[in-house]
């Protein structure tokens, strides 16, 4: 039963992921796609958390944290690029 619930949760998350993909495909702006990517990353964290339960292993704890970090870094980098046309400013603004 417990496992079934976990799998149901995974399937729900899969649908959620699919929606993110849909938004990324639909756009219409780059910002929309970044949002989709950001959300996608967050949903993946949930996915992996459930995997940890299912596989009964804590081996992916670091993965979860890293994913959290990267979703942030990635979104910020893309958004900043979008805003300023550069990722890294040469000089103070």
């Amino acid at each position: 039963m417990f496992e079934v619930i976990m799998i149901v949760a995974l399937l729900v998350l899969s649908v959620s992921l699919m929606l993110c993909i849909a938004r990324a495909l639909m756009g219409p702006t780059l910002s929309d796609r970044i949002v989709a990517l950001d959300s996608f990353g967050l949903n993946l964290i949930g996915f992996i958390s459930i995997f940890m339960i299912l596989q009964n292993t804590e081996a992916y704890a670091e993965v979860v944290l890293v994913l959290g970090i990267l979703a942030f870094v990635g979104s910020v980098a893309l958004a900043k690029f979008l805003e300023r046309g550069v990722v890294i400013d040469r000089d103070s603004h």
Partner: protein, 112 residues
């Protein structure tokens, strides 16, 4: 699962190859990236996907997944990263210098 993964790999190869045969620089680069994903998945699949624990020995498990392909893939991922990064830059500069990203316009003449 191996069957399913093999099919996935095949689809990756299909799309990757298709993208390589398009005119746009970026599509080619994307195609290359897809192919590298595909090979990583294939390496993993070919070692057999029978479920064991992650290959960490200090967790009290006895059955493990094959660690070797994982190490190979890790190596392959890093290599693909290096190559892809370089490809990107190359495509970027090619575009900037040749003023086009259309590979048909990057044919060059026969008389060079």
């Amino acid at each position: 699962m191996e069957l399913l993964m093999s099919v996935v790999v095949g689809v990756f190869f299909m799309v990757g190859t298709y993208l390589l045969m398009t005119r746009s620089l970026i599509r080619v680069v994307i195609g290359i990236n897809l192919l590298s994903h595909a090979t990583h998945l294939l390496l993993l699949t070919m070692a057999g996907l029978k479920t064991g624990a992650p290959p960490l020995l200090n967790r009290g498990e006895t059955e493990f997944s094959d660690p070797l392909p994982q190490a190979l893939i890790l190596t392959a991922i890093v290599i693909s990263f290096g190559i892809t990064a370089f490809t990107l830059v190359l495509a970027y500069r090619t575009y900037k210098v040749n003023k086009t990203d259309d590979l048909d316009q990057l044919r060059g003449s026969h008389d060079e």
